[in-house]
Amino acid sequence: MTEKITDTADTNKEIKKPKATRDAYGEALLELGKRNPDIVALDADLSGSTKTSKFAKEFPERFFNMGISEQDMIGTAAGLALTGKVPFASTFAVFETGRAWDQIRLTVCYSNTNVKLVATHGGITVGEDGASHQALEDIAIMRALPNMSVIVPADAAETTSVIHYVAEYKGPVYVRLGRAKVPYVMPDNYEFRLGKAHVFHIGKDANIIAAGVMVDIAKRAAEALKKEGLDTGVINMSTIKPLDEDTILEAATASRLIITAEEHSIIGGLGGAVCEFLSERHPMPVRRIGINDSFGCSGGGSELLEFHGLTAENIINTVRTNLGK
């Protein structure tokens, strides 16, 4: 009993060490596998990295390694879904979305099959493997597909909540996870709901709409800006499609500047989605922080974030400059 009482939200948060979202996925999938016999998993020779290996070990008869063939993996997942299974198909984000885009379009989205695409190694924090393995366009190309939902969790706890949510949800889903360990940012009582952003704070001067690893960085930037007297809000827009338009509008009408922050190209991702919406509904200054239409390169994850300006410092400067401070 004593343990439970001391294990309160805030003390717990302090002792939680950073954890990769892919690790949370592996554990959540295993847990789901125990609860629901219809859950099946597929991988394309990267199960050790995507962490579907945990599920594979426990449920070998429900795990299908498709070898290095992403297109076949997606089609097979669609077929499994059409017999009532709930397939989770995983590999690196760049291969999952890029190599099998037309397969996702035809047999997952157009056929509206209940396939869960959970890709790991999204974004620049893939690190040393370099540009060929860093998915910086995946959100854009998944978001363009009708029937597809796109989710980018911010931390391990949100990932667990997302994976349990999408297992119950009927329809195509793309969940983008990362390779690197990330700190916990979401409140302990948080539960993911599709299309519902999490508001940490709505600022009167500026608001940062962030996703994935950028949520923690945005929070740090907002704290620093607050000390300078700039009331800056932070929103975790973990569902990039369907977009939480009400929350964006609330942040937009409350402030003079919207900043988007994501570990993705500034073209077509979260920044693109927010701009599309605001330009029609509430035209106002928006600055997109992300990868500026370039490929990545090898390096450490945090080094690369810094190299591409995905930092609290860059957010702070962008807010200052655009608010004339």
Binding site: V40, E61, R62, F64, M66, G67, S69, Q71, D72, M73, I74, G75, T76, A77, A78, G79, L80, A81, L82, T83, G84, K85, P87, D102, Q103, R105, L106, T107, Y110, S111, N112, T113
Partner: protein, 220 residues
Amino acid sequence: DKPFWDKRDRFILSKGHAAPLLYVIMAKAGYFSMETLDSLRTIDSPLQGHPCCKSLPGVEVSTGSLGQGLSVANGMALGLRLDKKPARVYCIMGDGEIQEGQVWEAAMSAAHYKLDNLCAVIDKNGLQIDGPVKEVMGIEPLNDKWKAFGWHVIECNGHDIGELLRALDEAEDTKGRPTMIIADTVKGKGVSIFENKVEFHGAVPSKDELETAMKELADD
């Protein structure tokens, strides 16, 4: 009556461009009225230019972008086997279609997972849009290729119903591996002005041509 009856065999027309043929068979089988056939390729019709599973119950999965049906068939075969259902899965591909790389990924995985509840058919008519298959991109030796990928291969005359039925029975009796039926066919069979004519691959006959064709078929 029950296109989603869970004990049904599954059929996938991977060569989705043969949709008109599928639709006529489905109408005859009672999935929809014969009059609906007249709405083919028109706006709001369930009979889309290529089969769409969302607009037409009975179509198992949407096809049209080539080379994808076999992977979906594999997934269905795996799903049915997991549930210990005796239903079988059938998939028809074109001979030009198998130029798609994904077909060979699926060929590998069907054999790897020993999908003996799966039977695929290649409609080997020797023609594709740009000309004879052997000139556009040769696919031979077809039989040896599928054998090398671990399949049981049967060759037959695709216009001989008896031969086809025997091949399908043999496929059902084959255990431990999937079966490929290579069905030799003549495109436009039975109508002299269409037979083996590449220009009729995706063309609509004129009124005169239609009359000639109907007459020839009636005489048959």
